[in-house]
């Protein structure tokens, strides 16, 4: 096609056709559509929607991550609230009992009852942790896919920082009394710190994060924790 062919002879219809042809060739041409990747996300979002029949749809979408944080924050707030109310409902503890008879009963019910109360108090936190791990897994999956395509979202640091804050809250919560959960949260914290500290699309930094995730088998452990969440949480 010569330059003259492109825009040349002044006939408006001819010019329109040439402009359209050039636009089809040059204006934001689409790469091959990532069908399978999109399908996986669509299915995940639909499954999530189906499991929350009473709430409005929350599509998994990389440019609307704030909905995630709202969910996590809500889960933590509810967790804290339930935990506190459970604490108050459990009433005075053994050291505060002055009546010798009651003290004897409290002593008799002893460690098992205390353990059970502790487990009850920790339940909301474990639920919040399970939710957090699921979302962290989704975030890291997205991060990995993007970093391999060298197309990191500019908001990635912000999202990682939000997840990091929640991870640290959970590390200080009763959810972290479970040693396995504690180790997982600590490893997640390390990886999130590395992502927060990334400067642009630094290939060495990305590789460092990637290797760290592999070394700690983080994705595998997150998936396992997510899969086991209902059992772990006692549901």
């Amino acid at each position: 096609m010569t330059q003259h062919d492109r825009f040349g002879d002044g006939d408006p219809d001819r010019v329109d056709e040439l402009v359209a042809r050039a636009a089809r060739e040059h204006y934001n041409p689409a790469p091959e559509s990532p069908r399978d990747e999109m399908w996986a996300v669509i299915q995940a979002a639909r499954a999530e929607h189906a499991s929350r029949a009473d709430s409005s749809i929350v599509p998994i979408s990389r440019f609307r991550p704030r909905q995630w944080w709202i969910g996590i924050a809500a889960a933590l707030v509810i967790g804290v609230a339930i935990g506190r109310s459970t604490l108050f409902e459990s009433g005075p503890r053994a050291p505060q009992v002055t009546d010798p008879g009651s003290a004897a009963i409290a002593e008799h019910s002893g460690p098992a009852a205390e353990e059970s109360a502790d487990a009850r108090r920790a339940l909301p936190y474990r639920l919040a942790a399970a939710d957090h791990l699921t979302r962290s897994e989704a975030f890291l999956t997205m991060f990995r896919a993007d970093s391999r395509q060298e197309q990191l979202d500019e908001e990635i640091g912000t999202w990682a920082r939000s997840l990091l804050t929640r991870t640290r809250l959970l590390l200080d919560s009763p959810a972290a009394r479970d040693p396995q959960m504690s180790r997982l949260l600590e490893d997640l914290e390390l990886v999130l710190v590395q992502i927060v500290q990334l400067r642009g699309e630094d290939p060495e930094g990305l590789q460092f994060v990637d290797e760290g995730m592999d070394r700690r088998q983080l994705m595998f452990r997150l998936r396992a924790a997510s899969a086991a969440a209902p059992v772990t949480a006692g549901i």
Partner: protein, 197 residues
């Protein structure tokens, strides 16, 4: 029909047509393979439009995903007043085009249009590169003109499809296309004169 663009009617001619009625019945019966077949039949066209409109494949991917999530969610409301293909494209393109308005990066690129126009006007003599000039000229169109131009002249949508997707009259779509073309002719004619000379 534009090169590189496929419509459902073309798919029929090439043997890729998926029987909508049968598909719908299977989907409503919970057949996942049927859902996937419906998705496969239409996803490329939706994704391509999203790419053209955003210039950002990752963002186009997000928009396409949202579009199909909404479409599957609304499938129960399909009453058969049009073909399933037409209905699906109306829903998905509406979601894509509405989504564009909500995305920060898109707004930012709109805010940069002044810069694009400056490039188009001031630097064209220094670097008469067709791709850059064309991109700047199309980006410089008002949003409505650009949308109709891209959908019709670049991606091969009919005015009826555009009107349904945008919720406007067919006449509005035609008028906007006509104005878009006139603007592009004016923008690019200067280059043509230079190049021809």
């Amino acid at each position: 029909m534009r090169a590189g663009t496929r419509r459902p009617d073309e798919d029929r001619k090439t043997g890729n047509h998926v029987d909508d009625t049968e598909l719908l019945a299977r989907i409503r019966a919970g057949d996942r393979a049927a859902e996937r077949a419906l998705y496969d039949a239409h996803v490329d066209r939706v994704y391509r439009l999203a790419c053209r409109m955003t210039g950002d494949p990752a963002l186009a991917q997000d928009l396409t995903q949202d579009a199909f999530i909404r479409a599957f969610q609304k499938l129960d409301s399909f009453r058969g007043e049009s073909s399933l293909s037409t209905w699906l494209h109306t829903v998905t393109t509406s979601v894509v085009l509405n989504g564009l308005r909500k995305v920060k990066r898109f707004h930012r690129s709109e805010a940069d249009l002044d810069e694009a126009r400056r490039v188009a006007h001031q630097e064209r003599r220094a670097e008469p590169d067709l791709k850059q000039r064309l991109t700047a000229a199309i980006d410089g169109l008002p949003t409505g003109y650009r949308t109709v131009f891209v959908m019709h002249d670049v991606e091969g949508y009919t005015h009826e499809e555009i009107a349904r997707s945008l919720g406007v009259a067919t006449g509005t779509s035609k008028a906007q296309l006509s104005r878009a073309r006139a603007r592009l002719r004016a923008e690019l004619a200067e280059f043509a004169e230079e190049w021809v000379a």
